[in-house]
């Protein structure tokens, strides 16, 4: 199975790198691909919590939201330099994850699901009531994030490859993390918590750190999300968005970041395709989701193993 963990992502990265030169270079295709890559990052970060730490978070959209709103707050103050924006956004979402996680991780199972959902909703309502940043209506950025004062990110291709580079970075980071000392403890905790305690590990600390790291990566995805649309709204933080992210992870499989990556791409493509068919695509998507969960127990990543 090992080859699939690296071969599949590498093939996907190559395809994404080649896509603009293979007839997917128009605005709409690039927007779609950027969206897929950004959600790929978000799903990878969520998979670290779900697959790595064995915790089901239904509030992950808030991590992206905090990252995106950090861009908004800085933009409002006319700070757009990437070397300011990105670290601050990442720190903000990691801090949000650490504070909410410190409470949520004291619980487990269904409590954890509900509490993360509640904190996600809290973030949603908080952003909705921020009238200076547009409240419910959202906020249009004055400008995209700048690199050393250059507006390079406004170039479609440049943005595409920035997303790709960061996606690869996140995938590599999570992959390395899972194989490190820390990752081994995390995997042991999620599979057999009692055993991990019995050899001397306190699960709480490892889970909390994983949760904060996932929050940080989610925040980075949020920065890109804000830049991709040059617009940020509370709608980015709805709990349905968290549900979508969770579905991406399950659709791909929780065995590692490669699953989340595949799941996110599949999700965005299915969504796009269905939305082309009918305005009421959720009528199809909902039942499709149920069937996927029912039949695809190991996710897409586990498919060839069956039979």
């Amino acid at each position: 199975m090992r080859w699939r963990e690296t071969a599949v992502p590498l093939a996907i990265f190559l395809a994404l790198a080649a896509a603009p030169f293979l007839g997917f270079g128009q605005g709409h295709s690039l927007t779609l691909l950027a969206r897929a890559m950004i959600f790929g990052m978000a799903a990878i970060s969520l998979s670290l919590i779900v697959g790595g730490a064995g915790l089901i978070s239904l509030g992950h959209a808030a991590m992206l939201g905090v990252g995106a709103y950090a861009v908004v707050v800085l933009d409002h103050a006319r700070i757009t330099e990437a070397w300011m924006v990105i670290p601050i956004a990442i720190a903000a979402s990691a801090a949000f994850a650490a504070v909410t996680g410190a409470i949520a991780i004291r619980t487990s199972g269904v409590h954890f699901i509900m509490i993360t959902l509640a904190f996600g909703q809290m973030a949603f309502f908080a952003t909705s009531s921020l009238a200076i940043y547009g409240g419910d209506d959202g906020y249009t950025l004055y400008s995209r994030t700048e690199l050393f004062g250059s507006r390079a990110l406004e170039g479609r291709l440049f943005f595409h490859f920035t997303c790709l580079a960061l996606l690869i970075l996140c995938w590599g980071l999570v992959q390395a993390l899972l194989l490190s000392r820390f990752g081994r403890v995390l995997r042991a905790i999620s599979e057999n918590e009692t055993r991990a305690r019995a050899v001397g590990f306190e699960p709480y600390r490892y889970r909390l750190v994983a949760y904060a790291i996932a929050g940080a990566i989610g925040g980075l995805a949020g920065v890109l999300l804000a830049n991709g649309t040059e617009f940020v709204a509370p709608a980015y933080l709805t709990w349905q968005r968290s549900g979508d992210l969770l579905f991406m992870v399950i659709l791909g499989g929780t065995a590692g970041p490669h699953g989340a990556l595949m799941g996110a791409l599949a999700f965005i493509l299915i969504e796009e395709w269905l939305a082309h068919l009918t305005e009421h695509w959720r009528l199809i998507f909902g039942p499709l989701l149920i069937l996927c969960v029912y039949f695809l127990r190991g996710g897409i990543a586990g498919l060839p193993r069956r039979g």
Binding site: I56, T107, I113, L246, F285, G286, I290, Y294
Partner: protein
């Protein structure tokens, strides 16, 4: 803000809490008895509201509509149980979360297709359209008082059913030890169906009851669902008493917070900043209260014995 207004806000809070209780009661029982996490419980509230509105329009009577909503939402709940939920009882929470999330996507969109996106407004039933003088110079809408009364009566009935009847005893036993109840020769699947249908009916009833004071629209069940989750997390999962007290607490905090926060903030900052900060804080208050409670009691205030 003066005392009268505060009193009105408190009444509104209690009434909102009662509605939340009707939703949370089913949710906590379904979870307690079946270990099944049902995100689609909120859409059952929405379906109840739509069915109530439709049946009222169809029969020409709000009361008949409300009455007919009970069997209709019961049937709808059982149908969902048969089509979707029962296939996920044995699966992990993650699968249950996603499957019921799929149900939400479908039903929210389905309602949009059938009824359109525009909110439906229900007229107040004539009998209760007036107000009651609850205090000198204070007229409080009769209908809201009726909701309070009906809700309290339902809570009492529920308490009686769960604590004093054989079916209730089985439900309580099932909540603490399902295999044991099954070993006693009780058909646990039928018990599950019963609890499920009943929970759906309560949520639907709450939805229909709320039609004259809320706008009926797609997605209207989502926010109450999440607040109901907060309620049962605060109250302790599986506990009816916890759900009741948790619901009243959440209702009061949510309503009073929105009323009071901006005023409180005005004590320390200028009016426009106070309005903003107050509004932001008020919307977060319920979750902050939840976090505070969980910090000291991770299993909630009244955890059901497991």
């Amino acid at each position: 803000m003066n005392a009268t207004l505060l009193f009105v806000q408190a009444l509104n809070g209690l009434q909102f809490g009662i509605l939340l209780f009707l939703i949370a009661a089913g949710l906590t029982l379904v979870f307690g008895v079946m270990d099944f996490i049902n995100l689609a419980h909120g859409v059952q509230y929405m379906v109840g509201a739509y069915l109530g509105a439709t049946l009222a329009a169809w029969t020409g009577s709000f009361w008949l509509g409300l009455l007919l909503t009970l069997p209709a939402t019961l049937g709808f709940g059982l149908l969902l149980e048969f089509l979707v939920f029962r296939h996920f009882y044995d699966r992990d929470h993650l699968s249950q979360v996603l499957a019921t999330f799929g149900v939400i996507l479908f039903l929210n969109e389905g309602v949009r297709v059938v009824f359109g996106t525009a909110p439906l407004q229900m007229p107040m039933p004539e009998l209760l359209s007036g107000g009651v003088t609850v205090m000198d110079g204070l007229l409080y809408p009769t209908y809201r008082i009726a909701i309070l009364a009906v809700g309290l009566a339902t809570a009492g009935l529920l308490w009686f059913l769960v604590e004093r009847t054989r079916a209730g005893m089985l439900v309580r036993a099932g909540a603490s030890n399902a295999p044991m109840v099954s070993a006693l020769g009780v058909d646990i699947r039928r018990l599950f169906m019963l609890v499920f249908g009943f929970g759906a009916m309560l949520a639907g009833f709450a939805g229909a009851l709320a039609t004259p004071i809320l706008s009926v629209e797609p997605g209207m069940g989502d926010t109450p669902l999440i607040l109901a989750f907060v309620v049962i997390v605060i109250g302790g999962i599986g506990s009816i008493r916890g759900a009741f007290l948790g619901a009243l607490l959440v209702g009061l905090v949510e309503t009073l917070g929105r009323g009071l926060m901006p005023d409180l903030m005005r004590l320390v900052m200028d009016p426009s900043a106070a309005r903003q900060t107050g509004a932001a804080l008020a919307s977060m208050l319920v979750y902050i209260v939840m976090a505070a409670i969980l910090t000291f009691r991770p299993a909630g205030l009244f955890p059901a014995r497991r």
